[in-house]
């Protein structure tokens, strides 16, 4: 007899159905117009409805064989899960936290990679400085970068590049600055991404960038213009080279995570290093922006070598203090808190 058949799972569904549909409606609204569109009452209701849905799912798994119902609850519960637990702080607060703590901490977390990468850059620079013949110079420095400066140029021509603005008016400087920013930032991103390939290409690229700069420095030094040249490079160069070095460090952080993963395995170590590296690289994009502005505007306007050196020195002190010290307190406690929940998925 039909009445003789009472399905517990059907009764269960009848009792809870209304809640599921209410939750679904809230989720649809959040999906369309964001979490902010919920009123205070709905916002309070969401976690309760989520918990109800999760408990329904676990009951349904135990008592129901209605496949469509199980699929529905599965999808409802996971959508609600991401809605409830995926909430992030507001953009403004996140940006402030990033500048105060996130960026410098990420740099310090990857300090071994950063150190290796800066040393490689320096090694390239040192080797470049030893270049004294025209052929090697041509092979190393691409024409676009040389801007016509080579061993055949006269000392006067070389000098002119250092002290003449590339374009007279402010607008021309703007184009120059944005070109420098995007060009250098792209190199930085590439140096980072190549770190995934076990770091070797990153190291090569870093070494080569140092080499080019060193070779140019050698050219100027051979004409007795060493001081003028470094006064031309360093005001933005400190920021820019540091940023490239940091990108390389982030890339090497990935490589190191793959090479010496520690006790939790490669995937886990890579995930940890990658998240830090992502933050670090975002910070370097800002550094490239600063370097581009200094190079494009400030350096063209400041001609006095002494002021240029003062600018370079000030930027070095600033970055050292900021990256070395900002957000240092609590850092021990924070680090511990971050590690604990991840121990659970050690096998991943």
């Amino acid at each position: 007899m039909d009445q003789g058949i009472r399905l517990r799972s059907a009764d269960f569904r009848r009792e809870r159905e209304a809640q599921w549909l209410e939750l679904e409606e809230l989720l649809d609204q959040v999906g369309r117009r964001g979490l902010g569109s919920l009123g205070p009452e709905e916002l309070q209701r969401l976690p309760a409805l989520y918990r109800a849905a999760v408990s329904s799912l676990s009951v349904a798994r135990a008592i129901s064989l209605d496949r469509a119902l199980l699929a529905y609850l599965e999808s409802l519960a996971s959508r609600a899960y991401f809605c409830v637990y995926g909430v992030k702080p507001r953009a403004w607060a996140a940006a402030r936290d990033f500048l105060r703590r996130g960026f410098p901490r990420a740099v310090r977390a990857l300090s071994l990679g950063v150190l290796i990468s800066l040393l490689t850059l320096g090694a390239g620079l040192a080797v470049g400085l030893a270049v004294d013949d025209a052929d090697t110079y041509h092979a190393l420095v691409p024409d676009a970068l040389a801007q016509g400066r080579s061993h055949t140029s006269t000392t006067e021509e070389l000098r002119a590049v250092l002290y003449d603005a590339t374009a007279g008016d402010g607008e021309g400087l703007g184009v120059f600055a944005s070109f420098l920013f995007t060009h250098n930032a792209k190199i930085g991103l590439l140096v980072f991404a190549l770190g995934f390939a076990l770091g070797l290409p990153s190291l090569l690229l870093l070494f080569y960038n140092g080499l080019m700069l060193g070779a140019m420095g050698a050219l100027y030094a051979s004409r007795g213009l060493a001081l003028d040249f470094w006064g031309w490079v360093l005001p933005h160069g400190v920021t820019e080279l540091l940023a490239i070095g940091l990108c390389g460090g982030a890339g090497l952080g990935l490589a190191l995570a793959l090479l010496r993963p520690g006790r939790h395995g490669r995937l886990h170590a890579l995930g940890l290093a990658g998240r830090q590296a992502g933050l670090l690289v975002l910070g370097t994009v800002l550094m490239f922006l600063a370097a581009g502005l200094i190079e494009g505007y400030l350096r063209q306007l400041v001609r006095d070598p002494l002021t240029r050196y003062a600018l370079a020195g000030a930027s070095l002190v600033f970055w050292a203090a900021y990256l070395g010290l900002a957000g240092r307190h609590h850092s021990a406690r924070r680090g511990e808190r971050r590690r604990r929940p991840r121990d659970a998925e050690a096998g991943a």
Binding site: D66, R67, E171, G172, F181, K186, A193, L267, V281
Partner: protein, 301 residues
């Protein structure tokens, strides 16, 4: 009758909610990933092209500078912006119902979104450059070296096909995965469907199944029958299909009497209900019978 698709082939990501209930999310297949990326790429390229054309047409030097910065920001910021804002979903992913999630089930952090998208430089833009303008990168390098480098670069592109989680390099670096976000609707309970003519439904009352008859089948067959009834409710099935299924059940459970044509649907529904009740009862006792028994029930019913 051909069996309806039972289970998605691919892998699932198991998350444990803080309430202690495991959730299962299907890993997004490579095809939908690619399609989502194509949508995003088109949007991104169109926006960049339009913006740059507009700015350059203004003609001033400042506009050229702005165009440079704009294309950089769009090219690198598109995915960052949307994946941070929409909980790991770019417009393309939204379109295809995909979502980026953290492998450990925690919230998707800014660092993770940054890391997974910065790797595109290596995974996509580099191979793209190699295809379109190899001389820019290689210069006068010898042919064999170009070949080795290209092979190496394209290996990163193919990485998602080489692991079960369909993770690309960016996902590995960020500890993320892309999963399907299914949009299941709440369908009516299959046991509550009332199909077929009213006159035939009266016959249902006389259809009573014995336990040993119901024990012939398992959960798999029950859910196949559920799908059959749902299809009949949705769009109707050819009668021969229903008849064939009905006959097969009759033989399997040794249902002695013939079922007349008008009552076939009623028989199937009655059997579904009885079967589900039986299996759910046994489920409560901790017995999960997945599959049917071999052979058929001996003796007439």
């Amino acid at each position: 009758m051909s069996e309806p698709r039972r289970e998605e082939r691919g892998r699932v990501l198991r998350l444990l909610t803080p309430e202690g209930v495991p959730l299962e999310l299907a890993i997004a297949p490579a095809g939908s990933r690619l399609a989502a990326f194509a949508v995003d790429f088109l949007l991104m390229a169109t926006a960049t092209a339009l913006g740059v054309l507009l700015l350059v047409s203004l003609g001033s030097a400042a506009a050229v500078g702005a165009a440079l910065v704009l294309s950089f920001v769009l090219w690198n910021g598109y995915f960052l912006f949307f994946e941070l804002r929409w909980q790991g979903r770019s417009p393309g992913k939204r379109w295809l119902d995909l979502q980026v999630v953290s492998r450990d089930g925690g919230p998707l952090t800014t660092g993770a979104v940054l890391a997974r998208n910065l790797m595109r430089e290596l995974e996509f833009y580099l191979p793209l450059k190699l295809l379109l303008a190899p001389e820019l990168l290689y210069g006068p390098a010898p042919g064999w070296a170009q070949l080795v480098c290209s092979g190496w670069a394209f290996a990163f592109l193919a990485l998602p096909l080489l692991n079960r989680d369909r993770a690309r390099a960016g996902d590995l670096v960020a500890g993320t995965l892309v999963v399907v976000r299914p949009r299941a609707r709440l369908l009516p309970d299959a046991a509550a469907l009332r199909l077929g003519p009213v006159s035939a439904r009266a016959a249902e009352a006389s259809l009573v199944f014995r336990d040993e008859q119901l024990d012939m089948y398992g959960i798999r067959e029950l859910q196949v029958l559920e799908e059959l009834l749902r299809q009949e409710a949705r769009q109707g099935l050819p009668f021969e299909v229903l008849r064939a299924v009905c006959d097969r059940i009759c033989i399997k459970v040794a249902w002695g009497r013939p079922v007349p044509d008008p009552e076939v649907l009623a028989f199937l529904q009655a059997f579904y209900r009885a079967q589900r009740q039986r299996l759910e009862q046994r489920l409560l006792m901790g017995e999960r019978r997945e599959q049917k028994k071999q052979g058929r029930l001996k003796g007439a019913g």
